[in-house]
């Protein structure tokens, strides 16, 4: 199986035609996963029955593969009258799945904030909401930028799973070409390189963001 560069280049337009879908799914899922994960973590912190329920849910999510989740949401929910579009299932599935992981990131990020910060805020008379928004959240963001970036890359790398839902994303396009031409090396390499490039861009962006966020906190 030799590698034909011309052929590889010729696959580029087809594969790139799906980059919009891949990015859309990844971006929305990142936001969704972060939002749900933060909600999970806040709920867990408040303790009580809900706290335990959320804790179990997070462990459940961690203990099961994302693919199976997508199958369940896509093929099983309709039997119970819930019919979501493939795109919606993909985004909800990835968001839910990664929210479990991100909530752990948020947990670590919040735990790393010295207790004195919350105490200082309370001593100044700040309410719970103000404290969360103006004192805890900004510092948490600084603590978690790097691990959160890693998960954003993971979410990107998980978009090919949406092929099982017939969502036309990049790796699926590459496999389309492969199964039509029976040449695997070229389309897969092209898709792999695009994914790698996107992943590098994301992690660089996160690094910069982290640098900017951290600047005031360093000497």
């Amino acid at each position: 199986m030799g590698f034909d560069i011309d052929f590889a280049l010729s696959t580029l337009p087809t594969i790139l035609s799906a980059i919009g879908m891949t990015l859309l799914v990844a971006a929305v899922s990142c936001v969704g996963a972060a939002a749900i994960g933060f909600g999970f973590e806040i709920t867990r912190r408040s303790g009580g029955v809900m706290g335990y329920a959320v804790r179990f849910l997070i462990d459940f999510i961690r203990a099961t593969p994302v693919l199976v989740w997508l199958y369940c949401l896509y093929f099983i929910l309709p039997f119970y009258g819930i019919r979501l579009s493939a795109l919606a299932v993909g985004i909800i599935g990835l968001s839910l799945y990664f929210s479990g992981y991100l909530s752990e990131v948020f947990k670590a990020g919040i735990d790393a904030i010295p207790r004195g910060q919350a105490e200082a805020a309370r001593a100044l008379g700040l309410g719970r909401l103000d404290m969360t928004v103006f004192v805890i959240a900004p510092q948490m963001l600084r603590n978690i930028a790097a691990p959160m970036g890693n998960y954003f890359v993971s979410i990107l790398k998980a978009t090919p799973y949406l092929a099982v839902l017939a969502v036309p994303e990049m790796l699926g396009r590459a496999f389309d070409i492969a199964s039509e031409t029976y040449r695997y090396a070229e389309p897969l390499t092209v898709a792999g390189l695009i994914f790698l490039g996107l992943a590098l861009i994301i992690s660089q962006a996160i690094k910069r963001l982290e640098g900017r966020l951290l600047r005031p906190m360093r000497r």
Binding site: A123, L126, P216
Partner: protein
């Protein structure tokens, strides 16, 4: 400034038979203390004797199980709204400064003014600058805490607390994380405050400061106040043997 409308109390703080447990561990045992308006109390005692716990009870950072804490005319915990108002009039300065590292010095000072008191930005900033001047670092207003020395950070923390116009200031070992030179600059600011008549309760082992500034020295051991006296009495003729041995180690 919001203010309780009741008759101005003579005592800034009254602590009555305060008891607190951590699980089964009895941290505060029947602590009673009266702090008249304008007085300066220094609290000292061995590590673990409950000094921090006591002053944290005064502004609601710790809950307690028995006893009463009265700030001005407000009994803490009786009425939620009044409790909040009373607490707001208590400023607290911590050993580790606890400045918000992601905010500039100025924003550290204005945050509560704007979010709690709802002041306009302009007004809040000019008030903050006024207090920064008072602690002698107006020029640092736009820096971040990490860019300041420890002494400067602690002075910002004091300014931040002062911005809320407190009637009582609590200090928990404000100089024990500082280098010797910086200790002096912070103590100077505190002495200035005391001279202006601020009521303050200060946990510290700076005995020079206690001697110079305090009206009363309170010595705690194992959760109880075992001695309370004027500095001159306390330093020359401590009554309790525990206080005596403590003073000994302190002055080696």
């Amino acid at each position: 400034m919001p203010q309780t409308a009741k008759t101005p109390a003579v005592h800034a703080v009254q602590i009555g038979a305060l008891n607190k447990w951590y699980g089964t561990f009895h941290v505060l045992r029947d602590v009673s203390l009266t702090v008249p308006n304008g007085s300066r109390i220094v609290v000292c005692g061995p590590s673990g004797s409950g000094k921090s716990t006591l002053i944290r009870c005064l502004n609601g950072l710790e809950a307690y199980q028995q006893g009463t804490v009265t700030l001005g005319a407000t009994r803490l915990g009786e009425n939620a709204r009044e409790t909040t108002l009373a607490r707001r009039q208590t400023g607290m300065v911590f050993q580790n400064f606890n400045l918000f590292p992601h905010l500039t010095v100025l924003s550290n000072c204005t945050l509560a003014l704007r979010r709690v008191l709802g002041m306009a930005r302009h007004e809040a900033e000019s008030l903050a600058r006024h207090h920064l001047e008072k602690v002698r670092i107006p020029e640092q207003a736009n820096k971040y805490p990490a860019q300041l020395s420890g002494g400067q950070q602690q002075r910002v923390a004091i300014a931040r607390a002062l911005c809320m116009n407190p009637r009582l200031m609590l200090f928990d070992e404000p100089t024990s994380a500082l280098d010797p030179e910086m200790i002096k600059e912070v103590l100077d600011v505190m002495t200035g405050l005391a001279n202006e008549g601020m009521t303050m309760i200060c946990v510290t082992h700076e005995m020079g400061f206690a001697r110079e500034v305090a009206d009363q020295v309170v010595f705690m051991d194992q959760g109880s106040i075992v001695e309370q006296a004027s500095p001159s009495t306390f330093f020359t003729t401590p009554g309790h043997p525990r206080a005596r041995s403590f003073l000994n180690t302190l002055l080696h």
